[in-house]
């Protein structure tokens, strides 16, 4: 056998192992730093106003975040594949209205409404997904187009109609406001979807392939990954989740008009980005995205609780958003370069 080749001459391990722990630390840092921001924010606010963490206060925080978390989970699955779904806001609106129409004045079961919502959303996701994956056209343009198309359809259908809480059956409304052991149903649902998505992305081939596609579509093609099917599935998921969120919107707010969740697409995208999912695909986790969503909604509540002047709220929200992403980025950069230098000393001392 020719296996008797000379031994590798470089000292094995040294540079690569440190490189590895480095990337891992940096990777973790994203979620940790957001979680840190969140904890600071909550504790600080609590110090100023104890009511913030009262039972009602916590419940409100969770309820506010739930729908955005769901949407962020759906969006991050799409963003991981280096695509984007700008239509989620209108899907939520359409689905909420469809479900509202469906249950309004009846005593239909909440589960049926949820299924309808998921169906409406999945249909929208299917169209976007087909266009993006099989039409092979830029996702940003297609989903912006879909945003308008779905929104227009919703307006056209709803046209000044309104579904009122009085018309919505109690079973649906209970879903939106009820809780077990003080934890709202909505939050439980969001966490369940989040955990399932996260586990799937980590532990299944097709989940890993979503990362691969986002990281390098060209390499994914050569690796024989069924790119189109995977991207289609990602859009289907994002659409279905958005539709589901629409049904939950109805349950939570009871009142539905045409332009529910209008403009939410940007909020969702910023939650995803704040959560460390790269807009260019391939990296990030749904946990990060969910934390991003929680951070955004919490900032909104905190400003009101801290009695910040209404006129200042939006400015401060924007500034905090920028601060959150910048701090995270700067910490990462500093750490990477510090670790590089420290490694260097190690290697040369050995």
């Amino acid at each position: 056998m020719t296996a008797t080749v000379e031994q590798p001459t470089a000292p094995p391990g040294a540079r690569k192992v440190t490189a590895r722990s480095l990337t891992e630390t940096v990777f973790r840092a994203r979620e940790i730093s957001i979680a840190g921001c969140l904890v600071l924010l909550v504790l600080g606010t609590w110090a100023a106003n104890h009511r913030f963490l009262s039972e009602q206060g916590v419940k409100d925080l969770l309820l506010n975040a739930s729908i955005l978390i769901l949407l962020a989970v759906g969006q991050s699955v799409v963003v991981l594949t280096r695509n984007i779904d700008l239509s989620v806001g209108s899907v939520v609106g359409l689905s909420a209205f469809a479900c509202g129409k469906f249950v309004s004045g009846t005593d239909r079961n909440a589960v049926l409404a949820l299924l309808l919502g998921i169906g409406v959303g999945a249909l929208c996701g299917l169209v976007s997904g087909l266009l993006v994956s099989f039409g092979r056209v830029p996702a940003l343009v297609v989903t912006l187009g879909m945003l308008y198309i779905i929104q227009g359809t919703d307006y056209w259908w709803a046209h000044g109609q309104q579904i009122n809480a009085a018309d919505v059956p109690a079973s649906v409304l209970d879903l939106g406001s009820g809780s077990v052991l003080g934890v709202p149903y909505l939050a439980l649902i969001a966490v369940a979807v989040l955990a399932a998505a996260s586990y799937y992305l980590r532990s299944y081939r097709s989940g890993r392939e979503l990362y691969a596609i986002g990281s390098s579509p060209e390499a994914a093609r050569l690796a024989g990954i069924p790119i189109r099917r995977r991207i289609l599935a990602a859009y289907l998921f994002s659409g279905a989740v958005a539709g589901f969120a629409g049904a939950l919107w109805l349950a939570r707010f009871g009142t539905v008009v045409a332009d529910n969740a209008h403009g939410w697409e940007l909020t969702v995208v910023s939650a995803v980005v704040v959560g460390g999912v790269a807009i260019t695909g391939g990296t990030g986790s749904v946990w990060g995205a969910a934390l991003g969503a929680l951070l955004l909604t919490t900032v909104g509540s905190v400003l009101v609780v801290l009695k910040v002047d209404s006129f200042w709220q939006s400015a401060i929200t924007g500034a905090l958003l920028l601060a959150a992403i910048s701090v995270d980025r700067i910490v990462t950069l500093r750490m990477t370069s510090a670790l590089r230098k420290r490694n260097a000393r190690h290697v040369h001392q050995v």
Partner: protein, 509 residues
């Protein structure tokens, strides 16, 4: 090589295949047969159609005419995965990895070992990768992200990936272009073992000695046509060159003696922590200085820092006596420095832009007046250099991305030579360039040096280093461990310094 192959049925073969891209006829009626236990080389100039042939076999391209046969049965590959399922593993010319994923995931993407409920077994993925890497004898960590790996390391990951298939057919498109002797030896060892176990191998390289070292049969293509298919036994390098180029080749390393002048480039105690340390050297006018070393020694990093693409933590660079501001390629260019980077697809070229625009990119201020760009000047500059470097192209307005690998490399050279630099830094200047053109590039470098250009050359091609350089600087783990004048530079002395065994250089670790 001793069994009679003709009697056997080929594992994989191509019959009368044609493929064109628009007006370019990349393949015309080419046939090829791969047998179990045989290593088959594919030779030809840049743009001859080698990569295209491989992509047809790999299911990336569908042939316009002709067929692909597996075990004598005609098949239609609808995509790379079909070919993979038929037992064909491919290493493409350009590494295509997932930068955000780990080495292990890159190797096993889509075919990870699974445990209950179809879940990926991350531990066995890592262990299997470890084993593969050990087999290749390289220094990579399975858990490391692929972003930031050097081209050579990327190529090694690709090789490991191809090996992991346990395929019946192993196809390799210039796997060694970025590797140094040690890694090549390792690779060949592994490939020989596979071949002896019955794998059919198709191998492309522009380094003829590699073809002779590894293969039993060689097929030559020219302009998309099959020229001949011979056994390697009894073939000489000259025969092969004649088949490829269609004529005899002059000297491959036409080194002209040059008058060495003043110092053009002076590097003083340049350090980038964690990458290279305390690097000092001079390059004088008329001189070709080579920077040699093993993959990962930090040669590319040094030249990047010299050019200012990376910012050095300490040390200075002087050009013609003037200190360059740190971290500014623009300033380096203004001082007459040019860098042909090692990764042409990421750093060398803008793949979507046309050939002329790419070549024009380094001289935007010279292509017109008042910031305006004159199309005629832009095209003239490109046409001029396309001729000088024998570029094979369809139209100058075609995107560079459609050129063959070697021709892309020529565009990078053209783009920088057109700046008429005083100091030319070339990182793997002939990577993937065919033997004919390589001689041309060498002649060009040599004559430019003779005209007073200072050349700093990073190359993994040791014969090239030894033949072209007036002086060889050898790096080992981020430090310069030896400086060998042309007379003293031999394969042994360079390798000794590169592996840190030299008596002269201090040992780094």
């Amino acid at each position: 090589m001793d069994q009679p192959k003709s009697a056997e049925r080929p594992v994989l073969s191509l019959e009368d295949a044609s493929k064109s891209f628009g007006a370019v006829r990349a393949l015309q009626g080419v046939s090829l047969a791969l047998f179990a236990g045989e290593a088959h080389a594919l030779a030809g100039e840049n743009g001859a159609g080698k990569s295209t042939l491989i992509k047809v076999l790999a299911g990336v391209h569908r042939p316009d005419a002709g067929r692909v046969l597996v075990d004598g049965e005609p098949v239609t590959f609808h995509g790379p995965s079909d070919a993979r399922d038929a037992g064909i593993a491919v290493i493409y010319q350009e590494p295509t990895l997932f930068p955000d994923l780990t080495v292990a995931e890159n190797i096993f993407m889509g075919r990870q070992p699974r445990r209950s409920f179809g879940r990926v077994d991350h531990r066995s993925v890592r262990d299997a990768t470890r084993a593969l890497i050990d087999r290749l004898g390289v220094d990579l960590d399975p858990g490391q992200l692929c972003r930031g790996l050097s081209i050579a390391d990327q190529q090694l990951v690709e090789i490991a990936k191809a090996l992991s298939f346990d395929a019946r057919v192993l196809i390799m498109d210039e796997p060694t272009a970025a590797l140094t002797g040690a890694e090549v030896a390792r690779l060949f060892g592994v490939v020989r073992t596979l071949r002896e176990q019955g794998t059919a191998v198709l191998f492309i390289s522009h380094r003829l000695e590699e073809i002779f070292a590894l293969c039993q049969r060689v097929t030559t293509l020219r302009d998309g046509r099959l020229i001949s298919s011979d056994t390697v036994d009894g073939l000489t390098e000259d025969d092969l060159v004649r088949r490829m180029v269609g004529r005899d080749l002059d000297e491959l390393y036409p080194k002209q003696p040059a008058r060495i002048g003043d110092t053009a480039l002076a590097v003083r105690r340049l350090t980038r922590e964690g990458v290279f340390t305390d690097v000092s050297f001079d390059v004088r006018r008329g001189e070709i200085v080579a920077l040699a070393g093993l993959v990962g020694a930090g040669r590319s990093e040094v030249v990047r820092a010299v050019f200012g693409v990376d910012r050095a933590d300490a040390g200075d660079v002087h050009v013609a006596g003037n200190k360059l501001p740190a971290g500014s390629p623009t300033a380096a260019m203004a001082a007459g420095v040019a860098l042909v980077p090692e990764d042409r697809r990421q750093q060398g070229l803008v793949m979507e832009l046309s050939i002329e625009r790419n070549i024009g990119l380094t001289g935007l201020d010279r292509l017109g007046r008042g910031g305006l760009v004159r199309r005629t000047l832009e095209r003239g500059r490109a046409a001029d250099w396309a001729v000088r470097l024998q570029l094979k192209y369809n139209r100058l307005s075609d995107p560079v991305g459609v050129l063959s690998g070697g021709n892309q490399q020529k565009v990078v050279l053209a783009k920088w030579l057109a700046t008429e630099p005083g100091v030319l830094i070339v990182d793997e200047p002939t990577r993937g360039i065919d033997i004919g053109t390589k001689a041309e590039v060498h002649r060009l470098l040599s004559s430019l040096a003779a005209e007073g250009l200072a050349v700093l050359m990073v190359s993994s091609d040791l014969p090239e280093v030894l033949a072209m350089a007036d002086r060889v600087l050898v790096m080992h783990e981020g430090r310069i461990t030896a400086e060998l004048p042309r007379a003293l530079a031999t394969e042994e002395s360079v390798m000794a310094a590169a592996t840190g065994r030299t008596a002269g250089g201090e040992k780094a670790a």
